[in-house]
Symmetry: C2
Subunit: 706 residues, 2 copies
């Protein structure tokens, strides 16, 4: 793993930094960066590089990096694009370890920029320089401290690392951060990600003791599989929150399978994040509201939340939101309720949400907050304050600060609604590391983040457990696919597709290709009547529509006649279709119909789908998805989270279906697409599922290869 090869020490905590393209002119980026490094309090050596200057900001300037007498760990490159490659060569010769290339004019401009970026990577590889950017804002480490960007570094430092693929957004967030008291540890502007990308930083930040929570704003993910792999390692240690830009692009690919059609653009991302234990948010507010909570608060032991308020309405709104987001309103213990009854005024509400009512001063808040923090039925607490006649915002803030320290194992989030009257108290809370929000909804989202992380962390551990290996005939599958490839077919014929899944241990309704009537009769006799005949043609997707299917054939004569009828139907309705023969399929007993499928996402690879089969499949879209490779735990979950599960468990007096056989098929399909990555899409639809212990049989199988 990247993390062992390269611990990024000399990127974030370099002993020396060269600013190549340092400028004397205050308006220039090359000046701003040098100034930021110096004024940001960096304690290592700084070498401005500029062929036309002697001194900048009092520092001696060198004409090139080669002229610098000592070693350079990190080079910040701000020269025009045309000069970058030469500069990189010099850096390589000098033994520079990291380069942050701020300069634009690479892949993002197209044309020669793409070529230039390729060369940049070549040079970096040749010399072993690791590169951030190009076309980026730079990096910051607030603990070093090092501000190698042209934006101002926020004064407050903390445990929040932010990795952003948008430099502009980053600069706006850096300007906004002090307003809400966000404490950053490290800031990374990814730029074009020519070399170091989100996965490298994710791995590093996962190990970084100064970082408590990792925020990602990404518009693309370079290596989806590695992202999931590293992600699931990191999230066992600390939370990772992703805001993914570009999620709603109409990813309407022309799918040939039900699975492909139902797996929209976001399906694979969701499946991947689930596997990685990464929290996904859709807004910047959510990203930072959660981050602030993670930065200072512990992870709750559960999702039972207490609410203390001096405004009934605030408590009601917070409770509604808590419940609607899947958190629970804590049921206070009898002890707590009895205590509150004796300690609070009679008109106060002593059940959760606890309303200390409008005339509550700080001491009454103390009574309620402490009682709830002590209650074992409370996993986390929201404290709402609205400024009323006798309210003591600052005194109450002090109480919150003190009790939060005293009961440090439970997260406490404050909600101070108001303007001038709560301004000072809000500042006090921020300075004392108590997350404070101006509206209930924002604190609820933050609490949801904390509680979700606890679940996710448990989940990645569960999910990671053992993956069984099966006896499979991979060679046979490769032969079948190779044969289709030779014939220029991307869609396997039905009997081929069935043989593929059979080779992976999945029961199929016996099916064989016949090229004439006699063969068809012979196969039918061998299978035993009744049988079905279906046209075998790569050009016919909907066989029934051209009269290409005849069911329930019970004798040799019926088979012979059906054979002729199908051929004649197809000649009439699909005269140009290339016909390979007719498949004979044994009719199997009807079971409950489900679908099992797989499709390949360009970023994350294969995802597996399970759902209700038959005509309801696409109508109700009652399906679940997981990223391969599927574990037993995930396969079970996939079945259990669909509504079809209710039917399968035995609905309205029906006996339960063989759910284990479905799980078996899911795991085998996962194994199949993992072994044979050239499978682009596949459906087993319907898979007939029989009663418990009887098993399941694939009745129709469709496989599309790349």
């Amino acid at each position: 793993m990247q993390i062992k090869e390269d611990n990024m020490k000399y990127l974030f905590k370099p002993r020396s930094v060269a600013v190549i393209g340092a400028s004397r002119e205050p308006g220039k980026v090359g000046h701003a960066i040098l100034k930021n490094i110096v004024e940001g309090g960096y304690k290592g050596k700084v070498y401005p590089i500029n062929p036309n200057a002697d001194k900048i900001l009092g520092l001696s300037v060198y004409k090139t990096v080669s002229d610098v007498p000592e070693d350079i760990d990190l080079a910040i490159v701000v020269v025009p694009a045309q000069a970058v490659l030469d500069v990189m060569e010099e850096c390589g010769k000098k033994g520079v370890k990291y380069a942050v290339v701020i300069s634009a004019g690479f892949k993002e401009v197209g044309g020669e920029g793409i070529e230039r970026e390729k060369k940049l990577i070549e040079i970096a590889k040749k010399y072993g320089i690791r590169v951030v950017g190009p076309n980026c804002l730079g990096i910051m480490d607030l603990h070093t401290p090092l501000n190698a960007t042209f934006a101002l570094m926020p004064r407050t430092r903390g445990g929040i690392a932010f990795v952003s693929q948008s430099g502009a957004l980053l600069s706006a967030i850096l300007d906004w951060a002090p307003k809400v008291g966000i404490g950053f540890s490290k800031i990374v502007s990814l730029g074009n990600k020519a070399d170091l990308n989100e996965v490298d930083f994710l791995a590093h930040l996962g190990e970084d003791p100064e970082t408590k929570v990792i925020l990602l704003y990404l518009e693309s993910i370079v290596d989806g599989r590695r992202f999931v792999e590293i992600g699931s390692t990191v999230t066992r240690k600390k939370p990772v929150i992703l805001l993914k830009g570009g999620v709603t692009e109409a990813g309407a690919k022309a799918a040939l399978s039900h699975t492909g059609a139902m797996a929209g653009g976001v399906t694979a991302l969701k499946a991947a994040l689930r596997k990685a234990g990464i929290i996904q948010v859709t807004t910047l507010s959510e990203l930072f509201d959660m981050a602030i909570a993670f930065n200072s608060q512990p992870i709750p032991m559960g999702n039972r939340i207490g609410v203390v308020t001096n405004a009934g309405g605030g408590g009601v709104i917070a409770s509604d939101l808590l419940v609607s987001k899947g958190l629970r309103l804590a049921e206070l213990s009898k002890h707590t309720i009895d205590y509150l009854r004796s300690a609070l005024p009679p008109v106060a509400s002593i059940y959760n949400p606890v309303d200390v009512i409008g005339d509550a001063k700080a001491d009454r808040y103390r009574t309620a907050i402490e009682a709830l923090l002590r209650d074992q039925n409370v996993d986390g607490l929201l404290v709402i304050l609205t400024p009323q006649a006798v309210t003591e915002p600052e005194e109450t803030a002090k109480v919150i600060i003190q009790l939060s320290r005293e009961y440090s194992s439970k997260p406490l989030l404050a909600i101070f609604i108001g303007g001038e009257k709560v301004e000072k108290a809000t500042k006090m809370l921020i300075e004392n590391n108590i997350p404070v929000y101006e509206m209930p909804e924002r604190a609820v989202v933050a609490m949801l983040g904390l509680a979700s992380y606890r679940e996710f962390r448990e989940y990645v551990t569960k999910v990671a457990e053992h993956m069984e290996i099966f006896d499979v005939d991979k060679e046979r599958v490769l032969e079948i696919i190779e044969e289709a490839r030779k014939q220029g077919r991307k869609v396997l014929l039905e009997h081929e597709a069935k043989e593929v899944v059979k080779s992976y241990g999945i029961s199929v309704a016996p099916t064989k290709l016949a090229i004439n009537e006699d063969e068809a009769i012979e196969i039918a006799r061998r299978f035993g009547y009744p049988v079905v005949l279906k046209i075998a043609s790569p050009d016919i997707t909907h066989k029934s529509d051209v009269g290409g299917v005849i069911m329930n054939l019970k004798s040799d004569e019926e088979v012979a006649e059906a054979f002729r009828t199908i051929i004649s139907n197809v000649r009439r309705y699909a005269p140009t279709a290339s016909v390979y023969g007719i498949v004979v399929q044994k009719m199997v007993p009807k079971g409950r119909e489900v679908i099992v499928g797989a499709t390949k996402d360009t970023t994350f690879g294969h995802i597996i789908m399970f759902g209700l089969g038959g005509i309801y499949t696409e109508l109700f879209k009652d399906v679940s998805f997981r990223l391969t490779p599927l574990t037993l735990y995930e396969a079970r979950e996939m079945v259990a989270e669909t509504k079809a599960y209710m039917l399968l468990r035995g609905f309205r007096g029906e006996p339960p279906a063989d759910i284990n056989s479905i799980i078996n098929v899911l795991l085998r399909v996962s194994k199949l697409v993992t072994d044979i990555p050239q499978i682009a899409e596949m459906d087993i639809n319907p898979l007939f599922v029989y009663e418990e212990g009887v098993g399941a049989a694939a009745v129709d199988v469709k496989i599309v290869v790349e």
Copy 2:
């Protein structure tokens, strides 16, 4: 309607105000209110009432209202609860028109408080005084100006009216409002709503020329039907936005029907708001973010939104959110694209979202904004600014202000992300009535509000169209229900329930009660074979479970035997059940199964349900709801918005079902429960729907009366 009887002129714009309980002590509410009235700039006459003072704040004090020499339009009552009734009597004798009772100690404290509130209403009625409160914060009219509350009045006035059932929340919002530049018209704290309630204020504010948008925070709705009726009148003129507290309470009532079971606590509210055209939000941010937009911006002609940004990431996030919320990214006209290609730098993105890129100054913003506002494909515009090296926040704000005025028919919302660097520009925008948000998500919600209102306004007009009257036999239904009532039954027997719906013109499978074998045979012969026999007992809900149903009987002998078998089964499996006989039902041809039902909500009255029938009904909950009385337009919508609609229109080659007959049944059920309000729950499940033109038949009907 309320609005004609009482236009509230003397509440919000009184010629004279008495403060009963005015106090000299600055800490007291009775002082704060008087001070607020005087310092708030009220221009009418102010009479402090206090038996123990001569002058307060320089005003002459009267011992009682009777002592005041002139007429009093409005009395603000702040005396202790015990004194309120006497004070009200005096007000009545004096001819006071309105009383705002601030004092607490009424219904909210229980016990004698409830009694006191009853008496308060009696006195008010006796004298014709209209009352706000008791137990409230008071009222404000920023245009009068009149601040009859003990909170400070925000300096900025505008077109936003806020009616709140939580006084504490209101006081926090009033403190918070100046921070974000919210311009209120009127503020109402509802308190206990002993007399004037949300509907009265909704009606008044709907006619108030100073109010552009009405915000409601409600925890209860007093008269649901009138709320919907007045609401739908008001929303044709101006937007109404509701934040409803207490929506997630587990309203798990013990339902006897599918419809009752599937209509959760929020179902009726949603149906009601839809009918009234009221926008529902779930957070305070949404409430005010939308309000700010409505206060100054026009309603867009459609939902095609343009985005101009200097940060790619901001544009991406805004676009994702727009699309995920059901708005559309405008497709710019060829003319606009060509123009932008020539006018913007080559690396800018000239398609929507238009990225003017990081080095954009105000003039480049002007180019892009003006081009988009001119484009007929753009209905509304978001302008995103992030502070970067050469960005000109204030100059850009000026451009926005100017262009927004010039192109005043399209809403323009600004998003300035940042802190210090955008502070001044943000203030400029606020002062010039341009809605500005610090994060994209908030502007998107606001734009969604604007676009939704356009749709809702159109919708209330459409929905209100004609409601047909049917030939129905109401008397017969009342007889059947009276008969059941006499026998102490709440659940009608199957043949009774079928007769009820038949009396309202709905086709039913012929069904009749037989009390012995001979009668059963006679009925079966009359209906024609085959028939079904089912036990008739008010104590047996699931007839099949006790062997109480035998299907497909084809002869006299089979009917006789089935009769005996059922009787014997029921004796064995439900020995205590009271048996009324056995119903004989003609077996009707199988059709597509749907459910039509109704249930009664305590606040809003009856709602009608439509959905997929059979075993999938509760599994997929593929159902739609509307409030009665149902219009033709709504009935059509109900069918069309379910997934069942796909099946009914003809799925996979099936012929289309008789959708008109479903609509007919829906309208007749609506008429039935409107005429017979004692019906608490009912299901027609399944209703068999046949091919187009063939009709539909109710196969099983359940009716529960109160």
